[in-house]
């Protein structure tokens, strides 16, 4: 495949969608970034409008780099213009022409940082919390000193998988856990496995690498394409080619479901197959519940939990299944936070020049959380959880951790 932005067939479809724009400006009013900074002129402006001035090979505009990629514009567009996808492609073209800074290369590879941090996790975590080191990191590579970074662990999720004796069952699913579960939050993967097993499923957990989403959002398309194509192969171990693939990281799930093909133009038989079988964990559980197959032997969870549906979860167009499931739990006081974006947008908000913007984007959400003062904030996306905790001091968890507790887990 040629690496020109003007390349794949999928790209032609995304580009052709600009024809549907009638300039109604709905996207501009919904964009959380344009609302807080003049550095980003707005999704209509840098999307369907600017696209008419691009021919590939030379990017006329730099401001598209300030698009956070949250995807709200595409979701609200009444004419189905693929605005966020246009922006993503334009950003990639920009990086291709000008080269991506080391910082972007680094944050785009969570496995790299995870591997480096794991053997020396306590030291790594200390360093990440040390203000002098963080200050130096901001000055040298441009990661904002206050930006949320995950805590490294010495035991990866795959280490746990290696020692886990799963249940055997005729009903099987493949679990796509993603990088954050592997390197930073193995407990999320453990709880997903426990919940699925509790519901009578055998969980197949193949060895897997990054889906390439951070590469994609940093405009590094060739590497992202390679990553997602490799992952799709890894997710089809022998005899599993018709099983549901369950994702607990919403953004990575969306990558498999849609973005790999629609934004990256990646294509392979495995990817096409996996893409059609991928479910968000709560989407899957809600379907079980609707069929009357979800176990509801819940213990009361006497907590106030504020739930935030992250952008990439909303972009899956599956509603808010986590809310519907958590509502089944007795004793739980559930507050729906009806705000659009926390600002972090994957790796956007960790960058020196974008940190302040990201914090302003998340301000309404943070204010709601602080006003509510919940015991826990639940959010399906890892980077959003880290952002919310860093900004508000609240403890944030994946909503399935609450479900796990209701099933009697600790």
């Amino acid at each position: 495949m040629t690496e020109l932005a003007w390349g794949a067939e999928a790209w032609s479809e995304v580009r052709a969608s600009l024809d549907r724009c009638i300039k109604c400006t709905v996207c501009e009013t919904a964009c959380p970034v344009a609302a807080v900074t003049e550095l980003f002129p707005g999704p209509k402006t840098v999307g369907p409008q600017a696209e008419r001035f691009r021919t590939g090979g030379q990017s006329p505009d730099l401001s598209v780099d300030y698009c956070s990629g949250c995807g709200i514009c595409s979701r609200v567009c009444p004419q189905d213009v693929r605005i966020a996808e246009l922006n993503s492609r334009a950003r990639s073209e920009l990086k291709r022409e000008r080269g991506a800074p080391l910082r972007d290369q680094l944050v785009a590879r969570p496995g790299l940082l995870g591997r480096a941090g794991r053997p020396v996790a306590p030291l790594f975590n200390w360093a990440m919390a040390n203000s002098l080191i963080r200050w130096a990191g901001e000055r040298t590579i441009g990661i904002h000193r206050k930006a949320p970074v995950p805590r490294s662990t010495t035991r990866t999720f795959s280490y746990w998988v290696g020692h886990h004796v799963g249940t055997r069952s005729a009903r099987r699913v493949v679990y796509f856990h993603g990088c954050s579960t592997q390197w930073y939050e193995p407990h999320v993967g453990q709880k997903v496995t426990a919940i699925l097993e509790h519901n009578g499923y055998q969980v197949v957990i193949p060895k897997q690498d990054c889906c390439g989403l951070p590469l994609q959002s940093n405009g590094l398309f060739p590497a992202a394409r390679k990553a997602v194509t490799r992952l799709a192969r890894q997710l089809v171990p022998d005899g599993t080619s018709d099983l549901p693939v369950i994702a607990s990281s919403t953004s990575c799930g969306l990558m498999l479901k849609r973005e790999a093909r629609e934004i990256l133009g990646a294509d392979s038989p495995e990817l096409r197959s996996v893409s059609q079988r991928t479910y968000d964990i709560f989407e899957f559980l809600l379907e079980l519940h609707q069929r009357g197959e979800l176990r509801t032997d819940f213990k009361p969870v006497p907590l106030t939990v504020a739930y935030h549906a992250p952008c990439q979860q909303q972009n899956q167009l599956i509603g808010k299944p986590a809310l519907e499931i958590l509502r089944l739990i007795p004793g739980l006081r559930l507050v729906e936070l009806d705000r659009s974006c926390c600002g972090i947008a994957g790796t956007y908000g960790v960058k020196r020049e974008k940190y302040e913007i990201a914090m302003r984007v998340g301000e309404p959400l943070f204010a709601d959380i602080q006003a509510e003062g919940p015991d826990l904030v639940a959010c399906d996306s890892e980077t959003c959880r880290w952002q919310i905790s860093a900004a508000t001091g609240a403890t944030s968890v994946h909503p399935l951790e609450i479900l796990h507790r209701a099933y009697g887990g600790s």
């Binding site: 794949a8 032609s12 580009r15 402006t45 001035f53």
Partner: protein
């Protein structure tokens, strides 16, 4: 009545007239150029924008091909700012004769064109939307011309050398003294005032209208207006000009020009060059034809339809006695002294935008001979104003500039990225702007929304600045919206129909356009 004296009076402010004005002015002659409307409103402002490599004429009209190839090279040197170096492809679609491709290649080389055959895979890589079933592909030096920029640059250049230009000055009388033309009387179409221009020589550069001008002088020019219909597609479907490699016919070329792709064109003889009506059948024919070069063309958003009249001249007009009825695309300078015994009048007819410089050179050579003074032609090497850096115009230029616009300089036209500062700069240049003149100068209202979001802004601003009274602003807005509607009514389907609906809601629902006070 005001009276002016000039060496050369040029009638017609299209590419031909502007070229003649620039050429004459460089030769040290005093020039006055007039047009019945704004400049570039006739055929020049209504063409597809192709800078010919010569390929379209290579087989059938080698003389024209040779001229195009040579002039293409010269224009790239002297008028870079008005040109985009898109390159061009001639491709053999499944419906085109492969044997023609061989003849085409040989003829193109013979005409002095730069041409290379490229593997089909390479052509498809460069142009992903090109029909994957093409069988051969040739790369040529086609480009696109921004006609308004070009004509504006020619006129600014001429003015810098003393020329006087008068838009909206319609010739109402050609002054004859016996068998000699001595000038003309013009009526200012905006004020009704008459101006008399006494000229050493009058050049009839009215193109498709040159028959009408000649009649005023009492002689005949058998120019035959040939109407061509074009459709602009909302965005660029290809980077290069795409041509079918076959004998030129209708709808076989897609030109990436400014922010759009233009598909052209048809050729129907019409009696009146002002006949610009486009029938749904002609539009349908264009859209269908595009499918052969770019599959899915039909689903693309058609933005606007228009037509222009080629100033075709039967060969019999040029060389008396030649029995050939065939129409040439080359140009002819008619010396009415030799031809009709009427001195002081020269008509330049036929030709095409790409050869405007050569047309002007040939014309002014005759003028200089008649006047008995004037220097050698300098347009081969003299660079046009704006093109001094020799950088070609590039589609991304406006986006690049918009990026650096200060935040307090808002966009007036979002589609074509025109800022308030751009608007202020242009309207300060001269009094009496019509909204449509501003459109040609800045491309306001030419994008996907066709004025829906910018027309009222411009009218309102001109009113605020005191350039328009209330009634004037209201009628200017109505007139502009009507004119835009003319170009979209026959293509009102799909996205453009939705756009038109939204625009109408804005104009009728928000502004109550039909009932604005006079």
């Amino acid at each position: 009545m005001n009276a002016l004296d000039t060496d050369v009076l040029v009638i017609g402010g299209g590419s031909t007239g502007a070229g003649v004005a620039w050429d004459s002015a460089l030769r040290g002659l005093h020039v006055t150029l007039v047009d019945r409307q704004d400049f570039a409103t006739g055929t020049s402002g209504r063409f597809h924008g192709l800078l010919h490599s010569g390929g379209r004429y290579a087989v059938k009209d080698p003389g024209s091909a040779r001229e195009c190839a040579a002039e293409n090279r010269i224009l790239r040197q002297v008028a870079a700012d008005c040109l985009e170096d898109t390159g061009g492809l001639f491709v053999s679609t499944p419906e085109d004769d492969l044997e023609y491709a061989d003849r085409f290649l040989a003829a193109a080389r013979a005409a002095g064109m730069e041409i290379e055959e490229v593997p089909v895979g390479v052509a498809l890589r460069d142009e992903p939307r090109l029909n994957p079933k093409i069988r051969r592909a040739f790369r040529v030096q086609d480009g696109s011309i921004d006609s308004w920029k070009m004509i504006s640059a020619l006129l600014r250049g001429a003015q810098a050398h003393g020329a006087k230009v008068l838009p909206y000055h319609k010739v109402v009388k050609v002054i004859r003294q016996g068998d000699r033309v001595e000038g003309a009387v013009m009526e200012d179409q905006r004020t009704g005032e008459e101006v008399r221009v006494n000229a050493g020589c009058v050049v009839n550069a009215a193109g498709a209208w040159s028959g009408q001008v000649a009649q005023l002088a009492g002689c005949e020019v058998g120019v035959r207006p040939g109407k061509g219909v074009m459709v602009a597609i909302n965005h660029r479907l290809a980077r290069a000009v795409l041509n079918r490699c076959h004998l030129p016919s209708d709808g076989d070329i897609i030109v990436p020009v400014r922010t759009v792709s233009v598909i052209g064109t048809t050729d129907h003889p019409v009696a009146d060059p002002d006949d610009t009506e486009c029938s749904p059948e002609e539009v349908h024919q264009m859209i269908e034809a595009g499918e052969l070069l770019v599959p899915g063309f039909k689903e693309s958003r058609a933005l606007r339809v228009w037509s222009g009249s080629r100033p075709l001249l039967p060969k019999t007009e040029g060389a008396a006695g030649a029995g050939d009825r065939e129409v040439s695309r080359s140009h002819t300078v008619l010396d009415h002294g030799a031809r009709d015994g009427l001195e002081g009048l020269v008509t330049i007819a036929g030709g095409k935008f790409t050869t405007l410089r050569l047309m002007a050179e040939d014309t002014v050579d005759v003028v200089v001979r008649k006047l008995g003074r004037g220097a050698e032609c300098r347009t081969r090497t003299e660079v046009l104003p704006g093109s001094e850096s020799h950088h070609f115009y590039w589609i991304g230029n406006r986006q690049q500039e918009a990026e650096s616009d200060p935040p307090d300089d808002p966009l007036i036209c979002e589609c074509e990225l025109v800022s308030q500062h751009d608007l202020d700069t242009v309207v300060a240049r001269r009094p009496n702007w019509r909204l449509d003149d501003i459109r040609r100068a800045l491309r306001v209202g030419m994008g996907p929304c066709q004025g829906g979001f910018c027309a009222f802004r411009v009218a309102g601003m001109l009113h605020q600045e005191g350039r328009y009274g209330r009634a004037e602003a209201n009628s200017a807005l109505r007139e502009f919206v009507q004119e835009r509607w003319k170009g979209v009514k026959v293509i009102s389907w799909g996205a453009q129909a939705r756009q038109t609906r939204l625009d109408r809601w804005i104009f009728e629902g928000v502004y109550d356009l039909e009932h604005l006070p006079e």
